[in-house]
């Protein structure tokens, strides 16, 4: 307390130092956050600039010609869609249901601790190891051969732990109050989950699943070992060129092959392939954000 009332709010050297530190901290932290934009802008900008000569809608719908030195990416594009869709069709239901069990039913005993540990460690396994596992388990042991189904199952196992983790997080964000209120009136756990928990966690669950699309689409190693091939002859614009036991092309694999294996490729084609891959992933992420914003706007508490 100051002796002079009119100096009550006067700046002391301590206050000035505090304000200076505050300014520096805000600037440093803010610029670090701002830095995050630069790589994305550079990557996208560089890719589009280099890919410009080949970029057009027909690049997506055309098939590769002249030994993949010209033409488009249709077979790879469709292949990626097949792989992503099938892997998530397997991983999402299993992952969501497992997460519901772990979050809503599981007691803290050794078995459930073991399951948790397994999920965490599965998430940390490198994709190349998943690839080898997929090769041994699906291609040889289960006799699916090198095929879309082997590749999709490998991708499913890879995305499963992350789907479980994100679903559990979404479920945990529903307040325990709601569950207790339901239990108090004689509802079973399942009735509670159906009526209150799932409807309020669904936006988080969906977001988590959709974000795995980009992961499944981008991975090369797991599918290269289990079902993706160098080249597959496909009719232009054919929507269903592959059967489940066929091998397929995929964008990530195609990009790798064009960049390293094929001589004399038109320079802009690998870059255009990268743009298609990145573009589709960003499009899916944008969908995820839209879904989340829409469901949040209807949030009920």
């Amino acid at each position: 307390m100051s002796d002079h009332p009119n100096q009550l709010f006067a700046e002391t050297s301590f206050v000035r130092r505090k304000q200076r530190q505050e300014g520096v901290a805000k600037w440093v932290l803010g610029s670090m956050a701002g830095l995050m934009i630069i790589p994305l802008v550079l990557i996208v900008g560089y890719l589009i600039a280099r890919a410009w000569p080949s970029l057009s809608l027909s690049f997506i719908t055309q098939v590769p010609i002249r030994g993949m030195r010209e033409g488009g990416v249709w077979p790879a594009f469709v292949g990626t869609i097949y792989l992503v869709f099938l892997s998530l069709a397997v991983a999402a239901p299993i992952g969501i249901l497992a997460a519901v069990y772990l979050n809503e039913y599981a007691r803290d005993n050794w078995l459930n601790r073991l399951i948790n540990l397994a999920v965490i460690n599965l998430a940390g396994v490198p994709s190349i190891v998943h690839a080898l596992f997929g090769l041994g388990a699906f291609v040889y042991a289960a006799k699916f051969g090198y095929s879309i189904i082997s590749a999709s199952l490998t991708l499913a196992i890879m995305t499963l732990p992350v789907i479980i983790a994100s679903t559990r997080e979404a479920l945990a964000s529903v307040p325990r109050n709601f569950r207790e209120a339901c239990w108090n009136v004689g509802a079973t756990r399942w009735q509670t989950i159906q009526a209150v928990v799932l409807p309020n966690a669904i936006s988080g669950i969906l977001t988590g699943v959709i974000l795995q699309v980009s992961r499944a689409a981008g991975e090369t190693a797991p599918i290269m070992f289990t079902g993706a091939v160098f080249f597959k002859a496909v009719q232009r614009g054919d929507l269903f060129p592959y059967a489940l036991h066929d091998q397929c092309m995929a964008l990530s694999m195609h990009l790798y092959v064009l960049s390293t294996q094929v001589p004399d490729v038109k320079e802009s084609i690998p870059f255009a392939t990268a743009v298609v891959l990145l573009g589709s992933v960003l499009l899916v992420n944008a969908t995820a954000i839209t879904v989340r914003v829409y469901l949040r706007s209807r949030k009920k508490w």
Partner: protein, 262 residues
Amino acid sequence: MFEPQNRGHMSSEKHIQVDGLRLSYGPKEVIHGISFHILRNEIFGIIGPAQSGKTSLLKCINRTIDFSPEARVSGSIKVDGHDVRETKSIYELRRRIGMVAPLPVGLPLSIYDNVAFAPRCAGIRRKGELNEIVEQCLHQAALWDEVKDRLDSLGTKLSGGQQQRLTIARALSHQPEILCLDEFSIAIDPVTTMRIEDVLKVLRRQMTIILVTNLTQQARRLADRTMFLWNGEIVELDRSEVVFSDRPGNPKTYDYVNGIFG
């Protein structure tokens, strides 16, 4: 000596009988072997400071204590002579006990669905029957006139006092024989509290009410008998006019009720 009205509804039949109840969470025992009974159609007040085991006691009665994995219960609680720990159908047990939590919980459902939830869980599907239950329970909870035109709007969007009455309506929706109110008034204003107290004075004719409260005046106004619970033990249990008199059975009770400690 003052005498609460409606005393005549109390019978001498024991509705709930608690014997040697002990409860511990992990190594920490919070209820140390208490025994008491609650009569049919009485309002049974439970007073006591925080951490004295009031809420845990209620959870033992409707067995939602099962959801705390670290809890260990021993002793017996009998409702209508049946031990709740041996009942085959805990869902049936919970339907017989209405539970109102300290903070209002409007479920993120419409007002109608909030009240219709319990009957639906019990298998009632007919629209007419559900309508009847919803209207009756909202009437009983003194909420009907305020929400009858917007039963489809969200329960979570109501004010705190309205949500607490909605919680009471939901607790009544499964037609319980016992209604437990756990400090129902801590999050709502005095006027709403008085409205709910009036509701309780009517409900006591149909059911047994357990009223856990931090407001000793509220227990004095409503309860037929009051139990003073402290650190998991019963300090005093007697008719309210004795507990709140100048000379209760235990001097600690007088000190607590009159704000000398606690």
